[in-house]
């Protein structure tokens, strides 16, 4: 778009060539490589987009607390089918749980729950009872209402696809890349360098909006995940790995 050999004489005067050359040399001296990679830049853009959506969460969580307390006072128990939920969950569009286990608390950012045991692929490395997403975890304080809380053994990442789904591979040739994130002042921020994810062949994947429609969680395949991430990169996921470091679970975190 900026051919260096173009000349525009409509405003040129003697000495222009010298000025042009000097300016180019000055501009060239500023050259270098960007501080952020493309993925990091896109992740940064994604964080800001999420912050906008999360701005309403504290008030919603507080409202949920009131509703939850009132409902408990009237009925003597929580109205959900599963275990106790956090007040914030009551107020947020959390995917409905189908098992009897409580949800991972995440006020403001709701983690998509794991799929029910019967819906899991046979041979899944993690049984529902042992699933990280089915463990009761203390609720996060309302004041921390903008961050997901990973359960022990899991970590949060921003996930994106490295290539086309047609070239799907697992193990160390996985087509997925992740940027570790952690909660800082209630916000998910990058906490480490980008890394390729090595996935187990039978990795369990659950997705929610925007990768799948609605806020409900649903089981997905790695192939579908890679395809969807191409259109919606840098989604927040909870990742669980086995002892060898292979990823065995990927649960998308629902961000309102």
């Amino acid at each position: 778009m900026m051919g260096s050999d173009q000349h525009h004489d409509d405003a040129s005067v003697p000495g222009d060539d010298g000025l042009r050359l000097a300016l180019r040399r000055l501009a060239d001296s500023a050259g270098g490589t960007p501080a952020l990679s493309g993925a990091e830049l896109r992740a940064r853009a994604g964080h800001r987009r999420r912050r906008i959506g999360l701005a309403v969460v504290p008030s919603a969580a507080a409202a949920g607390l009131l509703v939850g307390v009132t409902a408990f006072a009237l009925t003597g128990h929580h109205s959900t089918d599963g275990g106790p939920t956090t007040p914030a969950q009551s107020a947020l569009p959390v995917a409905p749980r189908t098992s009897g286990a409580p949800t991972v608390p995440a006020s403001g950012v709701s983690r998509a729950p794991g799929a029910r045991a019967s819906a899991r692929p046979s041979g899944s490395p993690t049984a529902t009872a042992a699933s990280p997403s089915s463990r009761p975890v203390p609720p996060a304080p309302i004041g921390d209402a903008a961050c997901a809380v990973p359960v022990k053994g899991e970590s949060l990442v921003l996930l994106h696809a490295l290539g086309a789904a047609g070239a799907l591979r697992t193990g160390t040739d996985s087509m997925l890349s992740a940027i570790p994130v952690s909660c800082v002042h209630g916000r998910p921020v990058p906490s480490g360098p980008q890394q390729a994810l090595a996935t187990a062949p039978d990795v369990v994947v659950t997705t929610t909006a925007p990768l799948s429609s609605g806020s409900d969680s649903r089981l997905s395949s790695l192939q579908e995940l890679v395809t969807e991430l191409t259109g919606h990169p840098d989604q927040l996921f909870a990742v669980r790995r086995d002892a060898s470091g292979l990823v065995t679970r990927l649960d998308e975190v629902y961000v309102r």
Partner: protein, 163 residues
């Protein structure tokens, strides 16, 4: 624009745009800052970026507006000092560059902008006018004044800078 296309665009145009904004702002750290911010916005508004047909001009315009906005809020200099230490001349030991940067800082921002668009981006006056939203005559006047000011602020003939 897919992530791969965006990354390619980003990698291919970054240093060029930083150079242009460096000349426009006279501050390398500031230039890097606003260009990076402009790319972040470009990714968030990638549909608009693609539809523009000239993504590099789009990012340059956004970066320029960011720089102007910062100036007007009189925060850029202090924040750059806090974040990056001394201004950019320290990074370029070349005395010619330092003299040119100093001279560029002495001319009004809109004159610097037209200088960059005309001399660095090789845009004809009509296109500079279109990108800046100023009449063609105004652009010509700004260019003439910028040339005169730079010649006055720089010791000797501009052609000496070739050496």
């Amino acid at each position: 624009m897919s992530p791969e296309e965006f990354d390619e665009f980003y990698a291919g145009s970054w240093s060029r745009l930083v150079g242009q904004l460096y000349v426009m702002t006279g501050d390398l750290a500031e230039a890097q800052d606003v260009v990076q911010e402009a790319y972040v916005r470009a990714w968030r508004r990638r549909e608009e970026l693609s539809a523009s047909g000239a993504p590099e001009a789009w990012v340059r315009t956004v970066a320029w507006r960011l720089a102007v906005s910062r100036w007007r809020r009189a925060r850029s200099y202090l924040s750059a000092l806090v974040r990056h230490g001394t201004p950019s001349e320290a990074a370029g030991p070349d005395p010619e560059h330092a003299a040119l940067v100093a001279a560029l800082r002495k001319i009004p921002e809109e004159q610097r902008r037209v200088v960059v668009l005309h001399y660095l981006c090789d845009l004809p006056v009509a296109e500079v006018a279109e990108q800046t939203g100023a009449p063609v005559g105004t652009v010509k006047v700004r260019l003439a004044r910028a040339r005169a000011s730079l010649a006055r602020h720089l010791t000797g003939d501009l052609t000496d800078l070739k050496a």
